[in-house]
C-alpha cells in the first residue's frame, strides 16, 4: 500500500492534523489516507504518543505558588507584604498631599485666627457635612466648639505630618 512520495506528503501534514489546524477538506483527505496506510497510521500514532508525553511537562514542573513562596522567602519579602499591601489598599498615595496641606491650613486657622467662627467657616467650605454639626454646637455651647476644635486641629496636624512624611518617603524611594 505504501507509496513513498504520497506518504511523505501526508506525513508532513500529520502534525497539523493533530493540532487541528488543517482545513477540513484537507484533514478528511489525510484521515482517509491514514485509514488505508499502515505506515502513515503508525506515524500518526507515534506523533499522538509524543503529544501525550510532552503534555506531561507542565505537571512535572513545580507550580507557580511554590516557586513564588520560595523566591519571596529568599528575598525576605513575606514580612513586608502585609503592611505594604495594606498601605496600598488605602488611597493614601493620592490623598497624602492634599490631606497634609488641608491639615496644616486648618490648624493655622485654629492657632493664628484663634476664633471658633473662622474655624467653622473654614470647615464649612472644606467639610460641609461636618460643619452643620459644628454650627449647631456653636449656637448652643461656644466653649465646646473651642475645645473640640483644639482636639480636631491637633489630630489634623498629626495626620498632616504622617501624610507628608509618607509622601516624602515615596519620593525618596523612587
Amino acid at each position: 500500500m505504501r507509496d513513498d512520495r504520497r506518504c511523505e506528503r501526508y506525513e508532513e501534514l500529520l502534525p497539523d492534523l493533530l493540532d487541528g489546524i488543517l482545513p477540513e477538506d484537507h484533514a478528511a483527505e489525510v484521515r482517509g489516507h491514514v485509514e488505508r496506510c499502515d505506515a502513515c497510521r503508525r506515524s500518526l500514532e507515534a506523533l499522538g504518543r509524543l503529544e501525550r508525553e510532552l503534555c506531561r511537562l507542565p505537571s512535572l514542573t513545580p507550580d507557580g505558588a511554590a516557586v513564588a513562596a520560595a523566591v519571596t522567602g529568599r528575598l525576605g519579602l513575606e514580612r513586608r507584604s502585609r503592611a505594604a499591601s495594606l498601605v496600598h489598599s488605602l488611597p493614601l498615595e493620592r490623598l497624602a498631599l492634599p490631606l497634609g496641606i488641608a491639615a496644616i491650613v486648618l490648624s493655622t486657622f485654629r492657632y493664628f485666627g484663634g476664633m471658633a467662627e473662622r474655624l467653622t467657616a473654614a470647615l464649612t467650605s472644606c467639610l460641609s457635612g461636618l460643619a452643620g454639626a459644628f454650627e449647631e454646637l456653636a449656637a448652643t455651647s461656644p466653649s465646646a466648639v473651642d475645645s473640640s476644635a483644639l482636639y480636631l486641629s491637633s489630630a489634623l496636624i498629626l495626620i498632616g505630618c504622617a501624610a507628608l512624611s509618607l509622601t516624602a518617603l515615596r519620593i525618596v524611594r523612587r
Binding site: 502534525p15 503508525r42 511537562l57 512535572l60 513545580p62 513564588a68 529568599r74 499591601s85
Partner: protein, 193 residues
C-alpha cells in the same frame, strides 16, 4: 474585580509589595522554566536557576521600561541568566546559595523520585533538539503558549514557529521509545487480527 495588569504588579512590587511580586512569579513560572530548560536541558540545579532568575528580575524591576511586554523581558532575562549559569564553571566555585525548598511541589520522596524519572525519560526525547527547536517545544508544551505568543517572544514570524515546531516533532518522534506505550500495542493487535 479585574485581575491587576502586569504594569500594576510591577509598580506595586517596586514599592515593596511582596504579594504583587509573588503574582508576577506565579504568572511567569512556566515561562521561566521553559526558558531555562531550553538552555540547560533537564538539570538538577534547574529549580535553583529559576529562583535566581526571579531574584534578578526583582532587583532589576526598576529597569523594566515597559517598552516590551513583561513576559518578553522576563523571557530574555531568564535565557541570559541560564546561559551564564551554564558557562560558569561550577566545580571550583564556592557552592552557591541553595534553592529554597519548593514545599507544595514536593509531596514526598517517592513522588519526587517519580517526577525525576519522568523528566529523565522526557529528556531522552527532548535532548536531541538544538537551539530554537528546543525553545519552541518548551514554550509550546511547558509554557503552553500559543503560536502567536511564541512568535512574539522569539521575535520571529508565526510561520517560522510552525516550521520549527513541525521539524522538532519529526525529530522527537524518531527518538520515541517503541515498546512502552499502549499506542504501539493497539497497532500490533490490529495487525494481528
Amino acid at each position: 474585580m479585574n485581575a491587576p495588569t502586569d504594569q500594576d504588579l510591577v509598580r506595586r512590587s517596586i514599592m515593596g509589595d511582596g504579594r504583587a511580586f509573588a503574582s508576577i512569579v506565579e504568572r511567569h513560572t512556566r515561562l521561566v522554566y521553559a526558558a531555562v530548560r531550553s538552555v540547560t536541558g533537564d538539570n538538577n540545579e534547574i529549580d535553583d536557576i529559576v529562583q535566581e532568575v526571579f531574584i534578578r528580575i526583582y532587583r532589576n524591576l526598576g529597569s523594566f521600561g515597559g517598552r516590551s511586554a513583561l513576559s518578553t523581558w522576563i523571557y530574555s532575562v531568564a535565557r541570559n541568566h541560564a546561559i551564564n549559569a551554564v558557562s560558569r564553571a561550577r566545580p571550583e566555585t564556592v557552592p552557591m546559595e541553595s534553592a529554597a525548598p519548593l514545599e507544595s511541589a514536593l509531596p514526598g520522596p517517592d513522588a519526587e523520585l517519580e517526577r525525576r524519572e519522568a523528566l529523565a525519560a522526557l529528556e531522552r526525547i527532548l535532548g536531541g533538539l538544538e537551539g530554537r527547536y528546543r525553545e519552541v517545544v518548551e514554550l509550546r508544551y511547558l509554557a503552553e503558549r500559543r503560536y502567536d505568543e511564541i512568535a512574539e517572544l522569539l521575535g520571529v514570524p508565526m510561520g517560522t514557529v510552525k516550521t520549527l515546531l513541525h521539524r522538532a516533532r519529526l525529530k522527537m518522534r524518531a527518538l520515541l521509545p517503541e515498546d512502552d506505550e499502549c499506542g504501539v500495542r493497539d497497532d500490533e493487535r490490529r495487525q494481528a487480527l
